[in-house]
Symmetry: C2
Subunit: 224 residues, 2 copies
């Protein structure tokens, strides 16, 4: 595959956030591999995205390990529950790759959503610890899954905050973000700051419920 390095495996690509991001990447012309525990369901979602994007879409579906093995970039879009085991199982395939985490460790109770305490600080840092040979970047936490899947055009009312310890990797992810929002993702610091970005999703979900909306996060004052 010519663009092996730029092929994006979406682990958890049949979930709402995963399929929404996969659709956006496919629309932007990226080769995408939907990953799922079930290769069959991955194939179904891939077919649905091809149907929506058109004949030019380079999207297929595979079981998670095969999806990661077929790509140079792996986007983790899986639930927090089971995250550690899943990343550990995929570690041999993730090694040496660019791993993007949009995982949000959230809890829900009668007072609403909230961020969970994570031993390693954040889901992204946990992934980095489990796969030290990968380059982990945190991004895409705050984009509404519904908006990604349903809205047309660029999400120019939203920003993607990108954190990581590798400048070149952050720049690649920032450029990927531009295919969704129309402008590069914002360098939001070191990977450890993922612990502040991930739980912010709890705040946004709560806002969405109270205001019956799909809120988006934007930073003003960033030079074009």
């Amino acid at each position: 595959m010519d663009n092996f390095d730029n092929t994006i495996a979406v682990v958890g690509g049949t979930g709402p956030q995963g399929r929404g991001l996969a659709l956006r990447f496919a629309r932007a012309g990226h080769a995408v591999v939907i990953g799922s525990r079930s290769a069959e369901r991955a194939g179904d979602t891939a077919a649905e995205i091809r149907h929506r994007v058109g004949a030019s879409a380079e999207v297929r579906g595979l079981a998670n390990p095969d999806a990661v093995a077929a790509a140079g970039i792996a986007l983790l879009a899986v639930p927090w529950d089971g995250h550690r085991e899943l990343v550990r199982d995929l570690a041999p395939h993730l090694a040496g790759k660019l791993v993007i985490s949009c995982v949000n460790p959230l809890g829900f109770d009668r007072h609403g959503p909230y961020g969970l305490d994570v031993e390693e600080g954040s889901a992204a840092e946990q992934a980095q610890q489990l796969v030290p040979d990968a380059v982990v970047v945190g991004a895409f936490h705050h984009l509404s899954a519904v908006t990604l899947w349903e809205a047309d055009g660029l999400l120019d009312h939203e920003d993607v905050l990108v954190c990581g310890d590798d400048r070149a990797a952050k720049e690649r992810v920032a450029a990927l973000a531009a295919t969704i929002t129309g402008r590069p993702g914002i360098d939001s610091g070191a990977l450890r700051l993922a612990r502040h970005l991930e739980p912010l999703t709890a705040v946004l979900i709560g806002v969405n419920r109270r205001y019956r909306t799909r809120s988006g996060l934007k930073l003003s004052g960033i030079p074009a």
Copy 2:
């Protein structure tokens, strides 16, 4: 004093965030009492704000305990270092009042700013635990002190996220926020979510350094 209940004491009102918010509240016609450890320095800042706002400004300066005693609303705008002791000392004066916390527990090292772990979850929750008879609301964490102090007009490119457990108190603070941004603060959930709002300031400070800007946070999709 007729409007005793609406008088705002700014504890730490000579610091950058405190004096910036005090200036904005005074401009909007609120009676403001600048609080500081030093009544003299509080008086200096009050005089500076009166000079900038004009003769109509109702601003004076007092030592922190006297400032809180003279107001129905107390805004905590103090450094995290020493927060527990300061709130404990002020507790008798804060009891029964609306207490707004914009305190950000942040650390700084060679990798940049980051949010500190707080035993109670957040500065706002710590204040609530220390003064159970007060109603604590978290807000105004993310507004740039420089912008508050230097910019003219409303900060309509920013939103104020408001969290708390008392609906009426949140509504009062949301209305106060409108005097700064031009639209009500956004109900961002229960007080416990202050633990996610406060450390976000570390992300914004890092962004400001990297992009040499003063970034502001805005939520899109909130109905007017």
